[in-house]
């Protein structure tokens, strides 16, 4: 009963095609990584690494150019932190509602809406933030401008919501119903069951959702560029939240079109990009780790 050569050949063909497609993704990632870092590292031929990392000023076009990462990094951090403070409670509550409380028919309606939220182009969010939210915030908080970190945080929180909701919802729904039944059968109320059994059991999945949400927020460019005012100054804590800030992503997007290729400024933007890449990469790795640990925890060792 030998397999015919033709069929063997065909199976091999299919297998190698699929393998090629799958490896292409990894290859692309590695290439991006290499190019980004090659161009980023170019900065340190002429500029000191420690001045870049600890520099307090970003003045790329002054007579004596300064490429200090700190204001941009803190800008990103502040906007993202604000976004997470808003989207995490909202996202987790929505996920609990969709997976545990809502009538299945209601969930069926809600879920596509959450997904549509993820599909809206970021420039649309930016436009909305700029013409609706920013003036409102300016008026409400009596500020000289509405294009502040808070506006960016609110917009980003809306954009991070779909990520957080859908991943947290997956984590919560994956809790076997036998666990919930076990809790209810002992006279626990539905709330006690959610709070004491379902949430602790899905905690790692929820943490992964939060981290991926952070990753989504920190990497977002267009929206924050449009609504945060883009002042490259070190934000005060905590009043920086109602001041204009500039994020790493916005800096790259704003300045990349202006620089001459191969200049110091050009390399500096790539260095900023590398930092951004590393940040999201590390966040994703952590999320992955946590997710795996959570599988492990549910199944025992």
């Amino acid at each position: 009963m030998r397999m015919s050569f033709k069929r063997w050949h065909k199976e091999k063909m299919i297998e190698s095609t699929l393998f090629a497609v799958a490896t292409a993704t990894v290859l692309i990632l590695i290439l991006i990584f290499l190019f980004l870092f090659r161009d980023g590292l170019g900065l340190f031929d002429t500029y000191s690494f420690s001045t870049f990392i600890t520099g307090q000023a970003w003045h790329p076009t002054s007579y004596n150019p300064q490429y200090g990462l700190v204001p941009l990094f803190l800008g990103s951090l502040l906007v993202t932190f604000g976004a997470i403070c808003i989207s995490v409670p909202l996202g987790i509550t929505s996920a609990i509602y969709i997976s545990e409380i809502a009538d299945p028919r209601v969930s069926e309606v809600l879920k596509p809406f959450v997904e549509i939220l993820a599909g809206i182009p970021s420039v649309v969010y930016g436009f909305f933030g700029l013409v609706v939210l920013a003036p409102y915030i300016q008026l409400w908080l009596d500020l000289p401008t509405g294009q502040v970190a808070l506006t960016g945080s609110i917009m980003l929180s809306i954009m991070a919501l779909p990520t957080i909701i859908s991943i947290a919802e997956d984590a919560i729904s994956s809790i076997p119903s036998s666990l919930k039944e076990g809790s209810l059968a002992m006279g626990a109320t539905r709330w006690q069951t959610i709070y004491k059994v379902v949430l602790p059991a899905s905690l790692s999945g929820i943490s992964a959702a939060v981290i991926l949400g952070i990753g989504r927020a920190i990497g977002e460019t267009m929206t924050v560029m449009m609504v945060t005012g883009n002042a490259a100054v070190i934000p005060g804590m905590p009043e920086g939240i109602i001041e204009s800030v500039r994020t790493m992503t916005a800096t790259i997007a704003l300045e990349m079109g202006e620089v001459s290729m191969g200049s110091e400024h050009y390399h500096a933007l790539f260095a900023v990009g590398s930092v951004l890449f590393l940040t999201t990469f590390i966040l994703n790795l952590i999320a992955d780790r946590i997710k795996n640990r959570y599988k492990f925890k549910l199944e025992g060792s």
Binding site: E181, M186, G187, P200, S301
Partner: protein
Amino acid sequence: MVNGLFQGRDIGIKVSDLNLWYSTNHALKQISIDVPKNQVTSLIGPSGCGKSTFIRCLNRMNDLIRSCRVEGDVVVDGTNIYDPDIDVVELRKKVGMVFQKPNPFPMSIAENITYGPKIHGIKNKNELNRIVEESLKSSALWDEVSDRLDKSALDLSGGQQQRLCIARTLAVNPEIILFDEPCSALDPISTAKIEELIMNLKKDYTIVIVTHNMQQAARISDYTAYFLHGKIMEYGDTEQIFENPRVKSTEDYITGRFG
């Protein structure tokens, strides 16, 4: 019901004219049965006959299924548990349940036991420790786990997990314990341990057990009800059901002619 069946025993659960529908599917038809206190009553019958559905009526676990509708009376301690103003939480405290597949919470062994008492308001540490020890002793698990109470319950074997689930149920101090095929996922040795445990527990608890294993029903139960197509075909003394069934289909089922 056969008169004098229980020889003056107290009735733990009195079910009369219970009907249940899943949407339009009439799954339980006119069930009437008295379950005696401090005895083991087993429910047998082929798959899909309604015995699991029935046992889940006794602590209202079917409430969780949206399409499910129940009519009729189930009286425990003089109250109909299907009265609209009944507190399901209180009911389930009184009527505990052990499931087919062991379902310990992903917590430590001790936390699994204290879960119930804690949600019912017991906060005192010493009291909780006492409950842990007592429940684990009653479920014959103490000697195996007393040195690792703070370890994850998920690292226990299947049989140990099931005994932990029994201990967890005992910790709430119920009057009635429902077992829904508690041994179907276990090996013979673990099964024997659980059976022995169930026979010991009847001193203090009223026990209803659904089982697919007829030898098990014969070994551990005092009374047996045979279900078919959503009805009770025959109910009586276990010995009588197995040795001298009055209904033809009971005889066919227990002699293995179908099912």
